[in-house]
Symmetry: C2
Subunit: 587 residues, 2 copies
């Protein structure tokens, strides 16, 4: 059978382009089965948009347009398009009573037909689907070219102890019961990227292919939606074999011929009873399994291999570009400090820059800034040919000090004086942003965010956080990788010098925080595995240190609440899928 | 039957105080049935906290303590405590497999016993219960003193087209089927406040009492949890009669004797068949019904009556106090501008001030600030005996202008210059906050938030937004009310002068925005009723104006994303329950 996986890339709600794409594809259609992603017709995730009548009206008109066009102009044979979309049921008042996340079938000369409703609605972490959608209640096969095609939407392919149904196992049971094979299993997805996830997807795809004795075709959308990245990477597997695999983070159509062999009835039924009683190896829980490395005495975060670094660089560059272009920016601005975080953000943006785009860096030294911080910033900018502007805040800072004393009759305390420098920088950075129309990228990392080691409205400003899902030790790994494969664009001393906020004399992060290797391992225990303090201490950490970090983490919720969207590249991240009250009894 | 409604007030996760309260109440227990709120044992809402092992460990230890204590020391007769709590089921790995929101029964000498699991899990707006909890599958009555007591938890009392079950109707059907009366219906709640909600609760309570021919006892928690306010206001109704009603926003125990009359079998069954076929008058949807006023030619927001103003003032004062005290602040700081929004926040905080707390105002004039702005601020502060500090930003502003020109070789544009003033104020306000340990309250209103009429990191800073759920026209009404009942503490000219941001010469809001009465009505159509632009235009508004406002609303999502928590006093608010993507195709 001819299969065409359309790994599409459209902005949420850009119905004109979505219809254009469909009409283009249908105008001179390639014969065979065309698969488009989950919610291709609307984009994903929509959140409250799918409840807003202006959006609903545009969407309903889009469906009507497609129907009219198909009836009038869509011609061909042996062709079917399966695509994701929403199916609304309305109250008499015109408000939505139910919304289903469905597969629409489009065939020449016919209207769109909803043939399957997603059964497993993810409702954990960043997913709120039960808030918006009603689940489907039955599995469904679809017949095309005489073949029996099992339909799944995204989460439907996973199995978990907390899911009430197991659509894949239901297919297997149906095969046993009806003695009718499934010839192909398809999954239309809108599946967010995170590090290492593709391996899980393929392993599970192979497991399904093995269980149902049929090829498994998986198509995923491409797009960056605020913090959430969809990476495409569509694939078809048969048994243990990967037949095709699409690129990551790039729209494309993957066409191939999939040989469909009807299994003998013997083969069909032989193993099924056995398979059905076995637990699958690739469960939903497996996606989120702990990932500590005990190579050293204490657990540490696993090393970022070259392969992972390459994936992260691609993902983060894609995410920045998506957010910028979808909000109408092609000029960027980053506050460069001479430290490693801002250097990495500059490098990542530089590596992702497209024709017509530009990047500017701004260095804002105070009286506490070392000359070497300037020199390293200048060296890096020269190397990558990015203009570096310098806006000294020394005079401004002392002006504020004097005015403060005049207004309040007292000198600024230490912390006041530290924070005011950071906030003046925030104000000036955004002044430059206003003046030039440049989008500001934030440079905080996950370690800082977790313990609140930043100044609200100061170094925490920005439209988008690039590193907010990477611990400091991972920032270092990524810098090393970039230097190895991208001509040492980050001066080595930026990587090697001790981290400092340079907000007072001789300040170093190490005065306030444990070494980052320990900090990051402890944070991973708290954030990703939600361990008790006792469990973390039992790994070999000092209890005073663990308690101190847990205290800092708990007390800094208010800062994270007002932080910008963070590009999500891990299973557990700060941001939309992380929801913790600010006002609470601290443990 | 003796009933005791415990309208409790505890910080989320403050297990020591929760156990103390319970032991105090059990030490010399009043005979009868004691009702405590939903999730009394943990607090609500917990969000991800209920998945974190440190929290779970503390909670499990708390349950064990209560059990041990009850077995060893709790003595008495004719006593039962019903209280809300979580019931965890664990995986072998120690991670929670399922969490139920249950009613625990505590009786003298016995351990806690989970006797009912909440069936309807709210999962709309601010509620994410399906994300965390597993629903119960059966209604349940509990026998006490020979009486049959129907159990409900919060949402269970409501009926809606989107709820899969209707626990109240199931009770009615059971009565018909078993011919056994229910003698009392109880509802343990954690029900957020919003304007006018208490009327809905009581009306629905009466409807349930009528349908089930039994008194209906409703106990609600008290507490401000970030943006969400729980108002208590517990009550018992019988038919059309309110037997008792608790205070709003105050912990108390309401004890009363409820006469329980067993209805004759005739009465019991007579109307039930009829009642069961009738649609209830007080549905969930009714809570969210449109509320436009067409008293004038165009729709406007309904007037805030004196009763509503009083309720709002109580709610907002309570919410500020809760957030401040739970995060450890007793000193407050507000930037006073001479405008109506900051004046109202100052008035509200002043009216809510408790012994030992203090408020300071900071006036930060630029060269565009009118003298009258200072004088009005000074007049108000004098009237209410709050210190007013003045920090002129004129010199600082010109210093930044010069430094900007030196650094970049060009003068600031108009918008850059406007925003930098606002951001300098933000930095200085937080400098003062750092120096004095005062919490900053934000002064933006809902109209500004909706159209992005504010400077990010400038006037949008603050730990908590007091007015972010009130439109500008409602801000005006509230000021008038305060002056009427609180000695004209807001100078009349602050209310009467045209609103201005004072960021350039002769600036007035009216240059950028429609008159607030029109703006607010259009915004309410967009935000609360999610109307199409065509529907709003059909009400009589100009389409260019509606389109302009809708455009501003859509484009300012990025500002709202980084805004502080907003005290929620309406059914539809910005904040946690409002989730709209930033990057999207604008309509």
């Amino acid at each position: 059978m001819e299969l065409h996986l359309h790994q599409t890339h459209h902005t949420i709600g850009d119905f004109a382009k979505i219809v254009d794409y469909l009409q283009d594809q249908c105008c001179t259609p390639l014969p065979g089965l065309h698969l488009l992603p989950e919610l291709f017709l609307t984009g994903y995730p929509l959140q409250d948009l799918c409840l807003q009548k202006p959006f609903i009206k545009n969407y309903q008109e889009t469906l009507a347009n497609i129907n009219q066009w198909s009836v009038d102009y869509f011609r061909g044979e042996n062709i079917a398009f399966l695509m994701g979309g929403l199916k609304y049921t309305f109250d008499p008042s015109g408000l939505p009573r139910a919304i289903e996340n469905v597969i629409y079938l489009l065939q020449p000369g016919l209207e769109l037909q909803a043939i399957y409703s997603k059964r497993l609605l993810p409702n954990y972490d960043i997913f709120d689907e039960e808030k918006y959608f009603s689940p489907g209640h039955a599995s469904r096969c679809f017949t095309f070219q005489g073949k029996n095609i099992g339909l799944l939407i995204c989460e439907d392919m996973w199995t978990s102890s907390f899911h009430q149904h197991d659509p894949v196992k239901e297919f297997a049971r149906d095969i046993v019961k009806t003695k009718k094979s499934i010839d192909l299993v398809i999954n239309l997805s809108a599946s967010p990227y995170y590090l290492d996830k593709q391996k899980n997807r393929i392993a599970r795809g192979m497991e399904i292919s093995h269980l149902l004795k049929a090829p498994f075709a998986y198509v995923n959308r491409v797009g960056g939606e605020d913090e959430i990245l969809f990476d495409g990477a569509s694939f078809i597997v048969q048994g243990e074999e990967i037949l095709v695999q699409g690129q990551s983070f790039r729209a494309e159509i993957i066409s191939t011929t999939v040989p469909i062999k009807k299994p003998s009835e013997q083969a069909l039924l032989g193993n099924h009873h056995e398979d059905l009683t076995q637990d699958p190896a690739n469960t939903w829980e497996g996606l989120f399994s702990p990932n500590f490395s005990y190579a050293h005495q204490l657990p540490t975060l696993p090393d970022l291999t070259d392969e992972k670094c390459a994936s992260l660089i691609q993902a983060l560059g894609f995410g920045m570009q998506e957010y910028a272009t979808k909000t109408g920016f092609n000029k960027f601005l980053i506050a460069l400090s001479g430290g490693i975080d801002s250097a990495l953000v500059v490098a990542l943006v530089k590596l992702s820059l497209r024709p017509g785009q530009s990047l500017e860096c701004l260095y804002m030294p105070s009286k506490f800034s070392a000359q070497i911080s300037h020199d390293l910033s200048a060296e890096m900018c020269q190397k990558i040919q990015v203009p570096l502007k310098v806006f000294p805040i020394k005079f401004l800072h002392s002006t504020v000090n004097i005015a403060f004393q005049e207004a309040f009759g007292e000198q600024m305390h230490g912390l006041t004086d530290e924070n005011i420098q950071s906030r003046l920088r925030g104000a000036l950075l955004y002044g430059r942003s206003n003046q030039t129309g440049r989008m500001v990228f934030n440079t905080s990392n996950k370690s800082e965010l977790a313990v609140g080691y930043s100044t609200q409205y100061g170094d925490s400003v920005g439209a988008l956080s690039v590193l907010g899902d990477l611990y400091k030790t991972e920032v270092i790994s990524l810098c090393r990788y970039i230097n190895k494969y991208h001509e040492n664009i980050i001066p080595q001393l930026i990587i090697d010098r001790p981290p400092s906020a340079e907000l007072r004399e001789q300040q170093e992060d190490a005065q306030s925080l444990p070494p980052y290797a320990r900090l990051d391992a402890i944070l991973e225990g708290i954030l990703s595995y939600r361990l008790t303090l006792q469990e973390i201490v039992a790994m070999g950490f000092e209890s005073t240190e663990v308690e101190k970090i847990y205290g800092l983490y708990q007390k800094s919720e208010y800062k994270r609440t007002q932080f910008c969207p963070i590009l999500k590249v891990k299973t557990k991240s700060f941001g939309f899928g992380y929801r913790v009250p600010i006002a609470k009894k601290l443990t």
